[in-house]
Subunit: 343 residues, 2 copies
């Protein structure tokens, strides 16, 4: 029968090359696939994955874009960081609910030129994240494309009625953040200012290249019913705190001197524009947790949790304004400084 490939530009799926790619993904990123054991009935290779939900748990479902040119630059970002981060940032949404990640789907569009070394390195980072975060690849979709496009769906679980939403903050609750804010943004600026590829070992780049979702903290806060509301900081405190407040129909006051900011090295004069507070308020990609705790329970929140610093930065108010109180006691409105991809 005559073939006529040139005339069929619009097809969703592939055959031999795609099968090869899927086998490569399955081999490299999985290794430890648990089909048959545990609650995964069926992984890669059928029409869909099959999971047996755990009785007494709710299912968490989230997805995230990770696109070349929008979220990473091939010329700048090491491929294993792309592999790590595409999964870590989606898993962070599960941490933000107090849940535990279980499975993920990888949708990948790849140029032919990236199917060699770049792809092997990417899979190495993805596999490392999959193992570190306890999140197993169970399926996905692949296609060819001039630019690298990634979408990751994560399925997690949380004990019934223990998920922490954005909407539970009440007036008087205290506001906490984990870690230091602005570190990822500082790393991003460092990457953008630098010519060529960077050493992935630079400590200032670690949080930008290999963010760590705060899973242990999130599930501890959920299990103990300590957090009244919680979310992860993906777009910067000045953008994310208003989201939590809107969801909870409350306002907030935060104190600038209390915010745990990135430590900018002094001997980098070229970085003088990097104001630590501005980085902390408006920098994205930190994937730290922002959470609220009732005053009554505040004494149960430790100063650090498994070496991760927890800092009280303000309180929830009945008035719906968002105020930033300076070191001199002056109040100003907190304005969202997050970047808007549609502008």
């Amino acid at each position: 029968l005559p073939m006529d490939k040139g005339k069929r530009p619009l097809r969703g799926v592939a055959d031999r090359a795609e099968s090869r790619l899927i086998r490569q993904i399955a081999r490299a990123a999985l290794g430890q696939q648990s089909v048959g054991r545990g609650r995964l009935r069926l992984g890669i290779g059928d029409d869909a994955a099959l999971l047996s939900p755990k009785p007494g748990f709710e299912t968490i479902l989230t997805c995230d874009w990770f696109l070349e040119g929008t979220h990473f630059l091939s010329a700048k970002h090491p491929p294993d960081s792309v592999g790590w981060k595409c999964l870590a940032r989606a898993v962070s949404d599960v941490a933000a609910m107090g849940g535990t990640p279980r499975y993920f789907l990888l949708s990948l569009a790849l140029p032919a030129s990236r199917r060699g070394r770049w792809f092997a390195e990417f899979l190495r980072g993805l596999r490392r994240a999959s193992q570190a975060l306890g999140c197993e690849l169970v399926g996905g979709d692949t296609t060819g494309r001039p630019e690298i496009l990634i979408n990751v769906t994560v399925v997690g679980e949380v004990p019934n009625k223990h998920a922490v939403l954005r909407s539970g903050a009440r007036p008087g609750d205290l506001i906490y953040v984990s870690g230091r804010l602005g570190e990822a943004e500082f790393g991003l600026r460092h990457v953008c200012a630098h010519k060529g590829r960077l050493s992935a070992n630079d400590p200032h780049l670690k949080k930008h290249l290999y963010p760590e979702p705060r899973l242990a903290l999130g599930s501890w806060l959920a299990e103990k019913d300590l957090a009244t509301a919680m979310m992860d900081l993906s777009d910067g405190l000045s953008t994310d705190l208003p989201r939590l407040c809107t969801a909870s129909s409350v306002g907030a006051q935060i104190e600038a001197p209390k915010i745990p900011v990135v430590q900018v090295p002094e001997r980098r004069p070229e970085r003088k524009h990097d104001h630590p507070l501005e980085l902390a308020l408006n920098g994205g990609d930190d994937y730290e947790l922002l959470f609220t705790v009732s005053q009554r329970n505040a004494k149960l929140v430790p100063q650090s949790f498994q070496k991760l610093k927890l800092t009280l930065i303000g309180r929830i108010t009945r008035e719906k304004d968002l105020l930033l109180i300076g070191g001199d006691g002056r109040k100003q409105r907190l304005l969202p400084g997050g970047w808007d991809p549609f502008r």
Copy 2:
């Protein structure tokens, strides 16, 4: 505090414009959101969606790309067809397991120029599919991008132990397909050959623009334990049948004269290259079901199911070859004619 947006090209999320977009999606595509009722605990607007799995059911998980330039052309395809089809094709994977779709996540990257009428029409098609297929939008991710990028994740459910896999076909089993094959490919060629936009009402375009996943048939076959193996035809019989056979470690013989092929209108001389059998074997996007049934149960398969034609086209063999038997009795190897996006 100073803003410095020009320097921050790499950010995953948005603020005002993205919020507007999400509200628009939530309003238009949902309407009927069932949060609080049923098994959806939390939909759009938090870090992730929360679902309560139904006891006695397994969870089906699948995702699909739908990309401008790869899977559809803005200049050719009506936006409501893009909305319908991006969901329908992902739901088809659930039909192929014998399951019922429940929830979906929409990941959307959109150019600013498409945020007006195009987007409203897209949402109309998406909403129509969501209602027709019983599949509810519960979350997603949005960003800006010069081209329209879509990824859809679908969550479905199937009664424990009733999911139909690709791997269950046994030698001697009979091979069936639903509907007529090649219709979507015929529609695609019609679209590509035609200058400008087409009428969405052209009956030859319906299956290409608004495919209907065979949910009722799939779940009936699963419930009755009739199908030993099943998958949906997304890449054409010549590509998909080998996949089912590989998964089952078997071969197959199919008879060319028995294959229910697209009816090509005779009074279209410009379409003389459209050989119906070639369209049926190698055309993709039909989303019909391909399934196998043991000889013992063959009498239980009706000639049509809810007006959808079911056709016996061949049988599974122990020898792992894939053979096509012509009207003259001559056998030839069935070669995959699916299009490979990586070539």
